[in-house]
Assembly symmetry: D2
Homo-oligomer: 390 residues x 4
């Protein structure tokens, strides 16, 4: 694994935990953790349970005792590491967003495709797909229980940058992170929406905003946010604080019309300034037969409206039944799961796919499509919100 | 009063009820009801408690025993009636949207302004302003409890057209209604957002859609929707089924604001196809100090987030305390009000303003600003979502 | 009508409003309002729309132009007025609780029964039966959608006495009110539970408590509560502040039921000290096939769990569809009703029953059964919670 | 560790995970797992990560490489194992309920007390104390933010026995489990209520019920419930399906009165027949200054009402801030935890207490107090609900 901050911690937990609750074809071994700071990486490896450390990720690729590279470092490093790993015959799990540009993502996808032909697989870490409630949502849409979709309503609301004195971290530096709320959290909404609806976004019209244009350099960093010094020097925020856009989705089948055989229309909002909303990754779908609504702040439930019922209403399905996706291997009914379980499920799906010789999802190609939407959003925002095809 | 369908019923109730719960300077008398169908208007007058009927609204204007005209007929009739009434010295309460075009609305506003100088007042029926929870929201924003606003999130979600066989009514005929979900319900969101934030929308980028392009002529009409025959003739739907747009609001004060032009950014969605959402008129505001959220489907409460609190969280204020706006004249704490109470409060505010010789709000000028936003939304939607200044 | 405080206001509104929204066989006339204070009753009559006043309720009974007496005065006056009215051939609507003792209630019920044989009808004002959501609940239970009932969970939580300095009103004087939270609000829970389940409470075990034993005499009275002087004289609270009890319900049919006596078991709680709960009249029923939950603080919805559904969950039915009980005569879908609508529905049901020559429900006999439960609760609380048969 | 079913799995996860997220004074080692079935225990040990197995728990006590015994076997085995372990100088973590009788619990408590004097500690597994939201609740009560408590409202609602054909497991056999819903889930409510309020239950009046008196022997067992054969033989259910009771709590200080210087009154309900409620462990407290409400079905939040606020309302605190108890070592704000995290926190607290030479909580003495309440509930239910002192 490369990287050992927030994502490194949760990925390590997933690798350790997956075989304890799921029957896996392979027993994952936490062989080596890579990071540039020798002292830091050693502390992390001890804490997270890795057997050895490297200070250069290239060493991971050279080692014979490593079959898979898990990339948890910032977005500007993804392309180089992933391409090198795949070309060296290592499977790859890469955190999202796949890259910081469409060009990089296209290169990665091309390499991933040819690697897959050699049985070397790659996957991008859009873990919300593995939240049980969203996995159930996907199944319900696939089963036709919503009918033809008309509306997609996707919000990803956080508030950890609402304080104008929160410090300037790498997430606010465009050269490191690619974009701000758009790529960090909006990318999750885009992937989830495209995956669950089974159709791609074909065009967008966008507005982006940076509310706080300078922030303290340094400062106490707590969680994602924290508080910087108010008197010290400040540096520029080079990414968006919020991104909002309208979208059209393609129909599942080809055809001319936008509606009866076209796809739904969508509204997206990603922000880290929605004071009071902590991790409100919300998705609502309205179809001709039913509707679904999800909010990660109540992550163990899914609301479903079935128009066929007399006395219809949104029902809050507590997604903890053994029959629901992913859930049967954990606790009894009603005993909820947490944020990290999605990562454990990701490991399970990845290991099973590799073992079966099948392409795991989301592939780099799926992630490239997300990257194209991100690029279209930025292009529209720069062009007076004009419609931008994806 | 002109018109006696849904709006006529609720306005009549408000005129009858206001003096029973509020101390008014005048006792309203329900003098005459106008409608083209002689039999229908007589039945309605008996039912709603009007003393006499007219089959031509012009007669109301001629009568000396009438001081105020309440216009509840479709939007294409508003301008002619309102102008005639104001010029004849009658006060006017006009349902929203004010008119079917900006040009009409401008003419009405000009007439209203000069009438106001003569002590003849007019008001437009954006009644959501009188919902106690939204009146409280306004007061909290005015009191600075949210700080500087960053996000406006406005949805008006209904589902009564979701059935593709619901009949083709006047609300789906652009020549009668002006627009579809945009003017019918989106207008409420626009007015509420501008009023509560105290700032105007300065530009929009929009997408509009008509999902069902033809509908049965005739059919059983129940509530707003109902079900038409599936075999009979169909006619074209000439209005939007859904309208979604991004927006910028002007700042309240000039100067070097933190955001690019000082005000919040907004996302709006109006649709009658959000299956399962019955009358979800929702508004959320995020500021630097606090946030507010409202949903008309739980209309007696307002959610407020105060960032200053240790252990902060959105709190559900049940807006039924005697100290809250409008509420003290009704029932004890916790005994909720319904949809029609906003109309009763509207009567109270209107009668009090007339008595005091003050311009009631929302004025025709306020309603004209809404009309301009509606026009900008339509223009943007027709121009590939390009940014359209208001 | 006798009495013109809170209940007088809402009853008057109901009498005025019912014919405006419902087709009634008779047009109700608000003939005379009775109250001991001549000035007060005249002001109330003008405000509420009554044609004349009386300072002695006995005059109402003597007048030939009065067909029905609506009793809204405190509980200690009910028996005398109701009996006199019924014997004089006037129909009676009597506020709850029916009386301040079982003995009084039995006498009233006997008189009511013989009056009914002469076509003179009486009804007790348990208006929660007319809340659309609870009326729907009743229909769903009757239709067997919950199966055999196992649990009843009834709470009536208010907080207007939580302030130890709220003034000592007649509601805290046992000689006037009969009991405290038990009779005032617990009675509603008992009636609703017995009515919806279709079975009677057969025994109880209870605990009652008076948290604040003395309160200020006088003081500002606002809503139900308010604030008294803290320095002035205090008087004793002679009623319960809270009453909690367990209960058994009789089965609907005789036979070898699955439970020990065939019906569900219940938990009841009535209090005016549940800080933050304003009018939380809650009822939850669990059966073998489904469950229902209601909270008056969200009065336009009903939660229903149908175990037969794959992916089951409690669904929030917004009870504003034209097909739902009482609702079709009001507003379109999603436009909620308020507290007072139950009283309007009560008038509709009462007038229709009288016109049809049928006994309206709840009858005095139904109310007597509630009174017996109240008495059993008090008896058990006084006997170390020992089980008390009803 | 002794036992390896549901509780064994979650305890193993906690032992493995605690050192990965918390700085512990000792690194826990999963030395040996004991179970009677040699094959079964080996499979479990491999799955859960234990180094060795034993088929007799006595061997664990004899081994020198074991310092602590974690007892996850059924309640009828607790006393013997715990006493032997403590006398042998092993620390003990014992699942709840502590024992199947007060006599056993008293014996265990006596042994635990004398062991503690020798630095050998014991703890009972009431893990809900470690749910972050309830830990926050405890802190808020301790900080006086609720004022003097008046009401406790505790429900523990499940539905996995609602199906009359769910199989007859050891949990329905009184000789194994001690009691049914009362000891299994009601015990959690009792411990949580006593712990958070800081006062003990002094008396109860109870009603218990067994709705389904015979169940299939064998059958498919899924989660906690499942479905047995409908045609095969049935055996008697010897425990309660539901237990409901009223209670009084002692004041925190001595004194004569029940109220102003006494403790709150409480209503408790434990059932496995509340159809639709999956794991609704709910607790609500009403005080003179504030109220708190919790529901495990939305486990990452706590509702708090602060009467001091203008525009007060219950606020939903999302308990994922780094400042909240237990949370800082996990994920960023808004990224919720699951059921098992309470067990990890339990390990952390236990290891820290042992290291510090302090008695961990809840002690066996705390658990004995719970046991006494359970016994009083059973005694009252058998004596016509008569008040039973604890």
């Amino acid at each position: 694994m490369v990287g050992y901050s927030f994502m490194g911690a949760v990925h390590s937990h997933a690798w350790r935990t997956a075989p304890r609750f799921f029957d896996l074809p392979f027993a994952p071994e936490l062989t080596a953790l890579a990071g540039r700071n020798a002292a830091g990486v050693q502390v992390a490896a001890d804490k997270f349970g890795w057997d050895s450390v490297e200070t250069d990720w290239r060493r991971l690729i050279e080692r014979d005792d490593i079959d898979l590279i898990d990339i948890c470092s910032p977005g500007d490093t993804h392309a180089e590491i992933a391409i090198a790993a795949l070309e060296a015959g290592k499977h790859v799990l890469c955190e999202k967003p796949l890259a910081n540009s469409v060009a990089e993502a296209e290169k990665m996808t091309a390499v991933a495709s040819s690697a897959a032909e050699r049985g070397v697989y790659s996957m991008c870490g859009f873990t919300y797909r593995r939240t049980p409630a969203l996995a159930l949502a996907k199944r319900m849409v696939d089963d036709g229980r919503l009918g033809e979709l008309r509306h997609v309503r996707a919000q990803y609301l956080q508030d950890w940058l609402s304080d104008a004195d929160a410090p300037l971290t790498w997430r606010l530096d465009k050269s490191k992170s690619g974009s701000g709320s758009l790529g960090d959290i909006g990318a999750h909404s885009i992937d989830a929406a495209q995956w669950i609806t089974g159709s791609s976004i074909t065009g967008v019209s966008a507005l982006m905003e940076t509310f706080v244009k300078e922030r303290p350099i340094g400062g106490d960093f707590i969680g994602l946010g924290g508080h910087g010094g108010t008197d010290g020097p400040r540096g520029p925020v080079t990414v968006d604080d919020a991104a909002i856009f309208t979208a059209r989705f393609g129909g599942k089948t080809s055809g001319a019309g936008r509606t009866s055989d076209g796809g739904p229309i969508g509204v997206f909002e990603a922000t880290r300034f929605a004071l009071g909303r902590k991790n409100a990754m919300r998705l609502e779908l309205n179809g001709t037969l039913g509707s679904l609504a999800f909010d990660f702040e109540d992550m163990n439930s899914l609301s479903f409206y079935d128009a066929a019922h007399e006395d219809a209403g949104f029902r809050r399905i507590i997604v903890t039944e053994p029959s629901h996706p992913y859930v049967g291997n954990w606790w009894p009914t009603g005993h909820g799961l947490g944020y990290e379980h999605g990562f454990t499920h990701q490991v399970v799906d990845l290991v099973n796919a590799i073992s079966a010789g099948e392409q795991p999802a989301p592939s780099f190609s799926d992630a490239l499509q997300v990257q194209k939407v991100l690029a279209a959003v930025e292009a529209s925002a720069e062009a007076e919100s004009r419609w931008q095809k994806v």
